[in-house]
Symmetry: C2
Subunit: 218 residues, 2 copies
């Protein structure tokens, strides 16, 4: 059995939903298109959505050097990165027993600024490929100015836990015979048809790596 | 022009994306099915996903009295509630200019524990109706035990800002003629067919308020 890597990553509420396998954690980090990063600024919490990407045992975040969240990270402060994938609404007969099906990861760490050009390039690649696999090889790659204008930080995927709920509702025994529909409404993030940039009408077809991206049927 | 209610809600990075109208803020809070709550625990940030609901000028959160996040809120500490609705992937010719289309809200406040039975009931109603409009009237409503077993906190929607990106990519002028497809992949959270609770096979039809819930066509 895999145990939590630290006290604060131990799932206490509904502990049976806690998962500490790296495989599960990585899969959730890879599926979620963005994360919410928490930092402490002037003693209070600040939570900001941003894109993340995993490369092996490292999670990368990036942004402008003027970004307050990233700036606060350069001072060696801890951060909490949380990703959540919503899978459905769980409707029990009673609201008290109703819930959501979801998969979330909470990762704690102290970000390290990425300074090596090679690692920065790997972070850029991972960030692009995380959101749209296949895109990196079909892009105008970052130039020196852009690399300098982007701050990248790395967080080791060491102190993390996942929390997962699946399956049907669990009602109080007395409630099962009530004439109330109960069950799950499955939810998914799906893509519509790609919309070409209207700035330049061109004959370029939609690239194959984007066809069927997160489609309803997929 | 509506201005930011405080220094920390002023959108600085890409300031043109900052929106301070309550109407816009409320619409995003209402559409997002869940939020990420940031609290400071032992000096470090902790970010947890949870369901929220708005009722007028108040945002409600709820959970078990044993919930660490809610417990930390009872001590009068500040929290940051962030919701994000992802609308699409913005593919520029260069990764540096690529982005996401999204609508997010960041709300700061000091939660107030809800003790009045009436307000608690209103919070339960708002939480249920937020996720599945129409469900409250078709539920086995909370009993005394359940009301006591649920901690509810209220946060005034006073110190909040929204950040919104819409529209096509913006590439460097030199990049527009490159033979690289650019544009938007629209994204949406959509529901599949409701799945009845297998615990009790019944003839109850799917209620009308759930039919077409966040459907692709809607």
């Amino acid at each position: 059995m895999v145990t939590a890597p630290s006290d604060r990553t131990t799932v206490r509420r509904l502990a049976e939903r806690g998962v500490y396998d790296r495989e599960v954690i990585d899969a959730i980090l890879d599926e979620a298109l963005y994360c919410h990063v928490g930092v402490v600024v002037d003693g209070g919490p600040v939570v900001i959505p941003t894109i993340h990407a995993r490369s092996g045992d490292t999670l990368y975040l990036h942004g402008s050097p003027a970004n307050r969240m990233l700036r606060s990270m350069r001072s060696g402060e801890q951060v909490c990165v949380t990703v959540t994938v919503l899978d459905g609404i769980v409707l029990a007969r009673a609201p008290f027993s109703s819930s959501m099906n979801y998969r979330s990861v909470v990762l704690f760490g102290t970000p390290r600024p990425v300074t090596s050009a090679d690692e920065k390039r790997e972070a850029f690649r991972a960030l692009t490929e995380h959101v749209t696999p296949g895109r990196w090889a079909d892009s105008r790659l970052p130039n020196d100015r852009e690399e300098k204008a982007t701050l990248v930080v790395a967080i080791p995927i060491a102190e993390a836990s996942a929390k997962v709920r699946t399956g049907p509702p669990h009602d109080d025994e007395d409630d099962y015979d009530l004439p109330i529909w109960a069950g799950i409404i499955p939810l998914r993030m799906v893509a519509g048809e790609p919309i070409p940039d209207p700035a330049r009408v061109s004959d370029l077809p939609v690239p194959s790596y984007l066809v069927g991206y997160r489609s309803v049927a997929g």
